[in-house]
């Protein structure tokens, strides 16, 4: 039986992978490495897994992933670099733009210095923790300013006390397009933007493949080095698509048969 190691945190273990583990346990030998209870000693490690699947993005998770990559030949999905880039908004925007994928204008500014674009959304710089988007919308003189509670927390205090804000140009879009990528396979959905309806699943529907989004999504996962990902796109009034977010740890329960699709993909990718 194939041996799969799952590197995960408590939040994902308790809330996101019940169905996935139920399926995976029927087809593979599963071992769990949980961030909050794993003792990582760099001088005392032995792994006999055929593949590791990373379903979290905390510091210990990334450190363990780096160790596995550098010290073993065991495949790891997603790789540490991909996870790191995916939660560093500024860096992934930079790389995606350089690769030719349309992303909204963005900048990192010290507090008090506004970006050059008028309509913007302030997002957290590092999207590493497990909490949800909590937007505050202000409309003044016809301009839209959206800020995320997490971004403001980063600036105001706590451990991650920054003096900068990440600004992304706000794209007004009727729909938000969600593309899941599992290996070469893509799954397309659309839903009302979260600012219109915070209950994103209420309006979510499966849609036919959009060729333009397919090209952007495949290039994006190649650029950021992700095997499993989800991507959010918005469409401007001129009809142009913009990639606004990329996530290395998507909730695959939202895809029909998602847990089985992921499980089968991992087994297929395991060390032969």
């Amino acid at each position: 039986m194939v041996k799969i190691g799952i590197i995960i945190d408590k939040y994902h273990l308790e809330n996101k992978v019940t169905e996935f583990l139920k399926y995976l346990n029927t087809v593979a030998e599963v071992s769990l490495y949980v961030e909050e209870s794993y003792f990582l000693n760099y001088s005392d490690l032995k792994f006999d897994e055929d593949l590791f699947f990373v379903k979290a993005k905390g510091d210990l998770v990334l450190s363990l992933a780096k160790l596995i990559e550098r010290e073993t030949s065991i495949p790891l999905i997603n790789c540490s670099k991909g996870i790191w880039l995916a939660f560093n908004r500024f860096l992934n925007s930079l790389l995606l733009k350089k690769a030719g994928i349309p992303v909204p204008d963005f900048s990192l500014n010290p507090i008090g210095v506004l970006p050059l674009f008028e309509n913007f959304i302030i997002k957290n710089i590092r999207d590493q923790k497990n909490y949800t988007f909590n937007p505050k919308v202000e409309e003044r003189n016809g301009n839209i300013k959206v800020s995320d509670e997490r971004a403001l927390m980063e600036v105001k205090g706590g451990k991650e006390h920054y003096e900068y804000l990440y600004y992304q140009e706000f794209i007004k879009s009727k729909w938000e397009y969600k593309v899941y990528s599992i290996g070469e396979n893509l799954y397309f959905y659309k839903q009302l933007p979260i600012l219109v309806n915070p209950d994103k699943m209420k309006s979510r529907k499966k849609i036919d493949e959009i060729q333009e989004l397919r090209e952007y999504a495949l290039l994006a996962v190649k650029t950021i080095d992700l095997k499993i990902a989800s991507m959010d796109f918005l469409q401007s009034s001129e009809g142009n698509f913009y990639l606004t977010d990329i996530n290395s740890s998507p909730n695959f329960n939202y895809i029909k048969d998602g847990p089985k699709i992921i499980g089968d993909y991992l087994i297929n990718q395991a060390k032969k």
Binding site: S37, N41, G58, K66, L95, L108, V113, K159
Partner: protein, 266 residues
């Protein structure tokens, strides 16, 4: 030629570099937290000096390199020196020894560590130098918020050294354990093994200058690298030539070489 310097401060080594370049007729602008905005306005300079490894200066470095503006030292190597896990692998790949690493939440560490594992040293994961480090002698001293992951290193008991290099010039000092670069140090004759380590490190990653903090273990005589750095203040440098002019000339020569290589490849 226009040079940008990414630095926390405008004085100290940064200020001296600015003066040195300006005396040579070059234009220099220092970017600190107060005036650094990461957008196209940064593209006005020919190259940048990455003096600080703080997150936003690293972001600026990545931004500039993505726009084909040279950054010295390279952003990625500066980031890898700043992140202790990355630094561990850099040292390992160069064939150098570094202390044993342990990570976990406070609860996990308390469950797995034994009395004989102490003393350990607690360090911030993203840091270099002695800032934020703490010696941990017992389980009682391990305290953190529930989900916080702590990074610990096994303490190497022995003689501590601060070793600077700029090009082929090397200055080595004995220093008190866990003190920063600016503390009082004692100059020593350069031991061959330290010289070889510095050459290996410099050549492996094409470094123009930098420093390594190392400890010669009492029991084995082996040298362990406890802290690498890409851009120290060189506050204890006392070799024949002045550190500022050596560093600035290394940077200018490197930029000219890079520019010529780009020209020849076109």
């Amino acid at each position: 030629m226009k040079i940008g310097i990414l630095s926390k401060r405008t004085g100290n080594f940064t200020g001296k570099m600015k003066n040195y370049f300006e005396e040579k007729g070059l234009k220099v602008k220092i970017y600190t937290y107060k005036n650094l905005v990461l957008n196209d306005s940064l593209l006005e300079n020919d190259f940048y000096i990455l003096k600080s490894k703080k997150l936003f200066f690293l972001y600026a470095g990545y931004y500039l390199e993505a726009h084909n503006i040279p950054v010295i030292p390279h952003t990625e190597i500066s980031f890898q020196n700043k992140n202790r896990i990355e630094a561990h692998f850099l040292l390992k790949q160069a064939g150098l020894l570094s202390p044993q690493i342990i990570l976990g939440t406070a609860k996990t560490l308390k469950k797995h560590l034994k009395h004989s594992d102490f003393p350990l040293i607690l360090k911030p994961l993203m840091s270099s130098g002695s800032k934020g480090i703490k010696i941990i002698n017992s389980l009682k001293q391990i305290n953190a918020q529930e989900e916080e992951v702590l990074y610990l290193e096994k303490i190497i008991v022995g003689t501590h050294y601060l070793a600077y290099f700029i090009g082929d010039d090397i200055c080595v000092f004995e220093k008190k354990p866990f003190e920063n670069e600016h503390a009082n140090v004692k100059e020593i004759e350069l031991p061959n093994d330290i010289k070889n380590i510095l050459i290996k490190w410099k050549e492996k990653y094409n470094l123009l200058f930098g420093h390594l903090d190392m400890v010669r273990e009492d029991n084995t005589g082996k040298l362990f690298i406890v802290d690498p750095g890409t851009f120290p203040e060189f506050s204890n440098w006392n070799c024949e030539n002045d550190a500022v002019s050596l560093v600035c000339n290394q940077i200018l020569n490197h930029f000219k070489r890079t520019k010529n290589t780009i020209k020849n490849n076109k």
